[in-house]
Symmetry: C2
Subunit: 328 residues, 2 copies
C-alpha cells in the first residue's frame, strides 16, 4: 500500500510536489487543497480531486502526510500548527530567524495530536543546513561559507518591481568567483557581503520612465542592493519572457578546517547545487521527507522535527539491507 | 562529564583519532590499546596510558566508546564483533562487498551485549554513502557518479612495490577532468573505467633495474592498472621523500537528475572532498560518530548501525535549540 499524500496550496511548489510524487511508486496523491475556488484549479494528474482548504480536517483519516506549499511570511506560521492537529505535516518554512518560534508552535500542536511534523525542509534551510552540520561536527576547527546562486531571488525581483516606473524585473544573485576560489583553496578568508555576491537585475521599464532614476533607486535600496555591486540592464518585455522565464537557483556550502596535532593539515568539504527549477527541486526534497515523516510516525514518533533530526535512511524507499548492499 | 573514548590500534588512523579528540571538549581519551609491546608506543597526549590489547575487556566500565583503528582485511572482521561484547564501538570497515556480512556479525554481537556499534564510518564508505543516499532519494530519476582523487591509493602503491626491481613507489588516482565536466553539465554520460580516472605512478627503481620492464609490468597489471591510462615516472628516493610524503585524497559524488511533468528540468548535486591527510580526516569522521554512538546508547539504542541510520544532529555537541537557531 502506498503512502497517501495531500498537497495544501497549489502554486509553483504545489505543482512541483505533484510532479515529484509521480516519480515515486511508493507514494500516491490523494487530494489537493486550495483557498481558491476548487473549480478554477486544474491539476496535471488525472483523477485526483481538488477541494477547498476548509475541507482538509474532514479527510484526516485519508491522508498519511500533508505537504504544505504556502509561503513563510503569512501562510505557514498558522497553517502548519493548524494542520498538525489532523495530519503528519511537512513544510518549507524558510525565514531563518523565526525558525525557533515556528518550531515551538508546531511542536506543541504535533505533540498534542500525536503527529510528526517536519519543518524547514528544502535546500536552504534543508540540505545546506545538513551540510553545515556535518561539516562542523567533523571539522570542529574551521570556517563555514554559504554562497547562493547563480539564481533568481524572488524577494529581490519583487523589490525591484515596486520601484516606480518598473513594469517587470528579474534579479539574479551570483557568487563572486574569486571569493569561491579563495575558500576552496583553504585560505579561510574573511569576506564582506560585497565580496561574496554580486546582483544582476533585468528590468523592463514602463514607457517614458526615467531609466537613470530607476537604476539609481535600485542600487541605493538598503538591505536589498546597497551593500552589493549591482548591475542593472534594461530590456524589453519580450526579452524578459524569452531569456528569463525560468526559476533557476543553486549555491555552495563549504567547510574549510584543519586537523593534526599542529593543525598542519587542511581539508575542504564542498557541497553544491545547480538547479534548473528552484521550486521543483524544493518539492522533491519535501516529498522525500514526507516518506520519512510517515515512517517515523508509524514507529511511534511524535512532535516537530527538522532535517537535522531525521535518519538519512528514512528518506529512501529502499530497505536497510538494500542500502547497505547497494550504496554504502 | 565528557564522553570517555578508547583507541584500539595505534597506526595512522589511531594517531588521527588521538589528534581529533583534542579538538572536541566533550570527549576525553582514556586509553590506547595495541597488540605491540605497550612500552614501545609513545603517545602525543600526556598522561594517557597505553595497554596491551588483551587488557581491553577489563576496562569495559571505564570506556563509553571504543574506536577501532585496525584494517578491513583481517583486523576488523573479528575485532569489531569481539569488542562489541564489551563496548559501544565504531569502525571504518571499507570493503564494500563484504559490508552486509560484517554488519550481520557485528549486529548479532551488539544486540547480545546491549551495545551500539557503528560500522563503515569514514568518507567512502561514509560521507560519500550519505550523499549517494540523499541524492537518490531526492532525485529518484537520475544517475550517480563517484570519482576518487586526486589522492594516494595505498593498495595501488603496495601493488607497485611488489614488482621486481622496485624499491619504493607512490600511486595517485586522478579523476579525468573532461568526465567530471560532462557529469556536472547534466549530460549523464556513460563512462568506462578508463574514461573516469587516470593513474600516475612515482617509482624508485633499485640500482641496475630494468626500468622499461618495470613500467611494462605495472601498466599490464590486471585490475590495478590494465584498465586505466597509466603514467609511470622514475624518480630518486630523495624526490619521493621530498615531494610525495603526504597522504592526500578526496573525490566527488555527483547526482544528476530530472524533475517536472515532462522531465524538463535538470539538477546537479555535487559533494566533494579535498583532504590533505586521508587518515586524519577519516579519524575526524570516526570521532564525530563516536559522539553519536554514545548518545544513541544512552537513549536505549542497541545493535549495529551505519551512517545511513544516524540522525545528523547526534554528531554535533550542540543542542537541538542551538542547532536550529544557529545553522538550520
Amino acid at each position: 500500500m502506498s503512502i497517501r499524500i495531500g498537497i495544501y496550496g497549489y502554486g509553483n511548489l504545489g505543482r512541483g510536489v505533484e510532479a515529484a510524487i509521480r516519480q515515486s511508486s511508493d507514494l500516491s496523491l490523494v487530494a489537493v487543497f486550495t483557498r481558491r475556488d476548487p473549480a478554477t484549479v486544474q491539476l496535471r494528474t488525472p483523477g485526483v480531486p481538488v477541494y477547498h482548504a476548509d475541507k482538509a480536517p474532514s479527510m484526516k483519516d485519508d491522508i498519511d502526510v500533508m505537504i504544505l506549499c504556502g509561503g513563510s511570511a503569512t501562510d505557514l506560521p498558522t497553517q502548519t500548527p493548524d494542520l498538525a492537529r489532523y495530519f503528519n505535516v511537512i513544510d518549507s518554512f524558510d525565514t531563518h530567524a523565526r525558525i525557533p518560534e515556528h518550531f515551538a508552535s508546531v511542536d506543541a500542536a504535533a505533540n498534542a495530536s500525536g503527529h510528526v511534523a517536519v519543518i524547514s525542509v528544502g535546500w536552504d534551510p534543508g540540505l545546506f543546513s545538513l551540510n553545515r552540520l556535518y561539516g562542523g561536527a567533523i571539522l570542529p576547527e574551521g570556517e563555514d561559507y554559504t554562497f547562493w546562486g547563480k539564481g533568481v531571488s524572488q524577494g529581490h525581483s519583487d523589490a525591484i518591481r515596486r520601484v516606480p516606473g518598473v513594469a517587470d524585473a528579474k534579479q539574479y544573485t551570483i557568487p563572486v568567483e574569486a571569493a569561491l576560489e579563495a575558500v576552496r583553496a583553504g585560505k579561510a578568508p574573511r569576506l564582506t557581503t560585497r565580496e561574496k555576491h554580486v546582483r544582476e537585475c533585468f528590468v523592463v521599464a514602463e514607457e517614458g520612465a526615467d531609466k537613470a532614476a530607476i537604476e539609481a533607486e535600485i542600487k541605493a535600496m538598503p538591505n536589498y542592493f546597497a551593500d552589493y555591486d549591482t548591475t542593472v540592464h534594461f530590456i524589453t518585455k519580450e526579452e524578459l519572457q524569452r531569456d528569463h522565464a525560468g526559476i533557476p537557483h543553486g549555491g555552495f556550502v563549504i567547510r574549510s578546517g584543519r586537523t593534526g596535532f599542529e593543525k598542519e593539515h587542511s581539508h575542504v568539504i564542498e557541497y553544491s547545487l545547480k538547479l534548473d527549477s528552484n521550486p521543483e527541486f524544493t518539492s522533491s526534497v519535501l516529498v522525500a521527507y514526507a516518506r520519512a515523516a510517515y515512517r517515523l510516525h508509524r514507529e511511534g514518533g511524535v512532535g516537530c522535527k527538522t532535517v537535522l533530526d531525521i535518519p538519512p535512511a528514512y528518506l529512501s524507499p529502499k530497505s536497510g539491507d538494500e542500502l547497505r548492499a547497494q550504496l554504502l
